[in-house]
Structures are given as C-alpha cells and as structure tokens.
Amino acid sequence: MSTDMQAKQPIMTARNVDVFYGKKQAIDNVSLDIPENQITALIGPSGCGKSTFLRCFNRMNDTIQICRVKGDIQFAGQDIYDPKVDVVALRSRIGMVFQKANPFPKSIFDNVAYGPRIHSLSESKDHLEDIVITSLKRAGLYDEVSDRLDEPGTSLSGGQQQRLCIARAIAVDPQIILMDEPCSALDPIATAIIEELMDSMKEKYTIVIVTHSMQQAARVSQQTAFFHLGELVESGDTEAIFTNPEQERTQNYISGRIG
C-alpha cells in the first residue's frame, strides 16, 4: 500500500497556506499533499481549522467576505487562486458534501440532475437519465428510491439525504470530493453505510474528509493529517499516525488527553 502511495503524483498540493478571518488567523502555514484515488482524513479538536482548510480546496471560502486565503494550492498544474482560474468551473471538478445534508427542495431526480444541467453535461434526456441513475447507484441509493424519483429529496431519511447529496456531487463527475463531517448528524447504521460507500468510491474519486471521530478516520482513510490550533501538526500514513505518531501533540490527541 505504501509503495502505491509514493509512486503516484498528488492530485492536489497545498503549500504554505494561511487563512485569515479578518484579523484572526485560522490556518497557519500548512502544507499538505493530497494523493489521488485515496481517502485523506483531516482530524483534530473542534475549532482547529480543519473545515476552514478543507474549504480552501474548492474556494468555498470565497463566499465569506472577511476570509482571506494566502499561499499556493495547486490543482491540474495551476494555482487555483490565480485570477485566471474560473472558480465556477473549478467546483465542477472538486465537489463538496456538507455536514448537514442539504438537498434542494426539488425531486430526487432533479436534485441529482441539477449539476449536469447547469454544466450542460448531457446531450439528451436519455443521457441525463443515465447520469442520474448511475450516480444514484454509485451512491448506493438507487435501490431504495428507484420507484420514487419524482418525490421531493427532503422526504428521505437523514442518511438517505446525505447519500443523495453524495449522488448529486458525483453526477458532475468530479475528480475530488471534499466531505465536511458528512456523518456527524447521522446514526451509526447510516454512518456505516456511508463509510462503506466511501471505500468503493475511492476507486474513481479522490476523497478528502474532515472528521471529528478518530475511529472513523482510522477506519476509512489511507492518509491522515492532524490539525491543532490552525497548524498542521503531523500528516502521513493513517496506520502510522495512529500506532506510532511522531509528534507528542498527536499522541496526546489520539490517546484522548487533548481535544
């Protein structure tokens, strides 16, 4: 496994990233590589900045006026914060699943079809239907909703809604999917379903997940990065981080002494 990781080029790299909310610094000089077709977990106590850092990758921080991002984040050979990069197009390559499931108040079909429609990804109605069904299958939701695609997305259970959001993100065929604590509002069974889903998804997509549960990080990810007070304390092979961390702070967090 480790040799596989070293051979590939990282799909995204971050170098010396600082993030400020007004005068307050939330992220301090973080550098991290995101390996392709793997799950990278960002862990750390609450308020340590991991969500903020995650949102740098698809420039969602742009929607917050007082937020300033400095540093170099590279994707497809280009700094994504360069003015000549079209952020709208970028977000079709780097998708996001949020903490609380937020399906649109539309039908299940229209939820998943939204992305392909605005990016004009389908050539015909049949093609669009294909995309929707494939995405729902890949998100492991199709069997449960195949007979009621016209019903509102909000009529599903919490876990199903989150899988709908995953299907929605998949429908635009992104390369990277960012997940911000996707299971924190779900019960253990729904969580397990989604974790299993993530494992199958990594064959096609690269996943970066923020989680407050160390156990989840240990279960699903291949690479883990530990954040504390806005700094990247340590990152590396998940197994290594959890069994033999190099930093003391990492050790303290994992053993429950901090956070």
């Binding site: 969602m60 709208v88 079709s92 949020f98 649109f104 429609r117 605005i118």
Partner: protein, 318 residues
C-alpha cells in the same frame, strides 16, 4: 401587631385584585373593537346587499352581462329599466389588475432579487427606502399623474402607431397602479428570499453554479410559495384600489379585454353610485353595497389564501 398588619394587607390586596380585573376587563373591551369592526363591516354590507337582492334578483347580479344602473323615476313606471349585472365590472377590475400585475411583477421581483442577492449593503440601504417611498405616496397623487400625464402620453403614442386609444384607458390606470404595487411585491419577496437557508445556496455553489444560476434555479424555486403569496396580496390590493381608477379609468361599463378601451371597475361604480344625489333606498345606491360585498369576499378570499401560503412556507424553513 401581626394581626392588624395582616388585616391591612388582606384588605389592600382585595382592592388591588379588583383593580386588576377592572383594567383587564377594559383591555379586553378594547380588543373586542376589532371584532366589532369586522361584524360591523359584514353586517352593514350584507344588510344593504340583501335589501338590494330584494329588488334585483341575485342571479341577474352575478351573471348579468350588462351594467347600466337606472331606476324607476316615477313610482308608476313598470319595473326598473336598468341592468345590474356585475360581470362587466368584474372584467374591468380584472383587466386593470392584470395590467397592473404585468407591470409590477417583473419590476418587483427583479428588484427584490437584486437587492437581496446582488446589491451591497450601501446600495440596499439607499434603494430599499426609496422603493418603500412608492408605497407611501397617496393614491390620489398617482391617479392625478395617470390622468394628467400618462393617459395623454399613451393616447398620443397610440396615435403615432395608428391605434385608437381612448383618453381614459385601462392601460393608463393599470400601468400606474403597477408602479404603486412594486413595493408590495418587492418588500415581501425580499423577506421570503432572505428566509431561504444558506445551506442550499452553499450546496449549489459547491457544485459549481454561478450566482445567477443559484438564484434562478435553487433560491427562487425554493421561495416560490412565499412569492406567490406576495403576488396574491398585491392582486388583492389592486382589486380594491379606488382612486387611481376613478381618476384615470372610465365610467363606461365595457365587457372587454382590450386595454385600449375605457373600462370601469367595481370600486369606481361604488363611488359613482354613492356620490350623487339619490335617496338611500333606491336600487342604485343599494347596488353599491352589493358590489362592495362581492369585492370584500374576493379580496378577503385572496388574502386568506395568500397568508396561508406564506405561513406554510415560513414553517417549512423555520
């Protein structure tokens, strides 16, 4: 020592208890004025309307196609020679309201969307009060402007294009009424749009939608029930409007859909029938109450539906 103090205490509290009840009673009495007003309105309209329907059968009122209110001048004249069908009035009202909404809806919605989604705080703080100002201008001023400036302009403009537009047209009254309605639509829609949760906006941005795509394909569809509620309230306001139509529309009861003709509305007829010299009992004056009852049912009905829609929408996102 304790005993006398206790007695004093007890007596004082009984008095203040009574005072509490008296004040509470007075307050309830004040609140009942609202109910009495509604009862008064319904009673006065219904009472006179029933007297009217004693003279003119209700079917000919509701389904009659002609409105020319005459009554017998001499007591030995056979029957009333007038026609009291409300339909031409209804079509006039609806025609003008339709024109008004055709003007107000795009202007109001686009303004609301722009102010809620795109404008910066400085622009919002400048423009919003200016739009509210439109709602504060008395309708008699709108009516004067419509009759004095807009109607001749439309007639002159129509003449240039070879159209025969009367000097009192539904178009003139309707378009001015439309501007008057803009703040009603824009202010209510603004509230409704702002109530759409940020979460689904984020979801849309996260998928690579532009701001406009998010607004038109996610936010507005989500806000639709509330927006429809605001439109219904505006229509209700348009139907009940009096002065603009009295001053700029006409008195001719036409059963027409042509915006270039003069039409009359229910409110105009109520004014015409009651501001003249006739005894209170004649069918003409009673007809005004019948029209008003019809008008009241229509506007209240619209309002109830509108409020229920807005309520349902608010509860969905509360």
């Amino acid at each position: 020592m304790n005993e006398s103090q206790d007695l004093t205490l007890r007596r004082a509290s009984r008095l203040s208890q009574l005072r509490e009840y008296a004040i509470q009673g007075a307050l309830i009495a004040c609140s009942l004025v609202a109910i009495f007003t509604t009862i008064g309105i319904v009673a006065s309209l219904a009472f006179e309307a029933i007297r009217f329907f004693g003279k003119i059968p209700i079917q000919s009122f509701l389904f009659g196609l002609e409105w020319s209110p005459q009554t017998a001048i001499r007591s030995d004249q056979v029957g009333a020679s007038g026609a009291f069908g409300v339909l031409p009035l209804l079509t006039g009202t609806l025609l003008i309201s339709f024109i008004a909404m055709a003007v107000a809806t795009p202007l109001g919605l686009l303004s609301a969307v722009y102010l809620a989604e795109f404008a910066n705080a400085k622009t919002r703080n400048l423009v919003k009060p200016m739009l509210e100002l439109l709602a504060g201008i008395p309708t008699v001023v709108y009516g004067f402007f419509a009759a004095l400036v807009v109607a001749p302009l439309i007639r002159g403009g129509g003449a240039e294009f070879g159209l025969q537009i009367s000097s009192e047209s539904a178009l003139a009254a309707g378009s001015v009424m439309g501007i008057m309605l803009v703040p009603y639509i824009s202010s209510l829609s603004d509230d409704v749009i702002n109530a759409v949760p940020q979460a689904i906006r984020d979801a849309s941005y996260g998928m690579g939608a532009t701001h406009t795509e998010t607004v038109t394909q996610v936010v507005l569809p989500a806000a639709t029930p509330g927006i429809i509620g605001s439109l219904l309230l505006a229509i209700s306001r348009a139907i009940g409007e009096t002065m603009i139509v009295v001053m700029a529309a006409g008195l001719a009861a036409n059963l027409t859909a042509n915006p270039f003709e003069a039409v009359t509305t229910m409110t105009v007829q109520i004014v015409t029938l009651l501001t003249g010299d006739q005894e209170f009992d004649s069918a003409k004056t009673l007809a005004a109450f019948a029209i008003a009852l019809f008008l009241l049912v229509l506007t209240l009905g619209l309002n109830i539906i509108a409020l229920r829609l807005v309520d349902k929408y608010k509860r969905k996102y509360a």
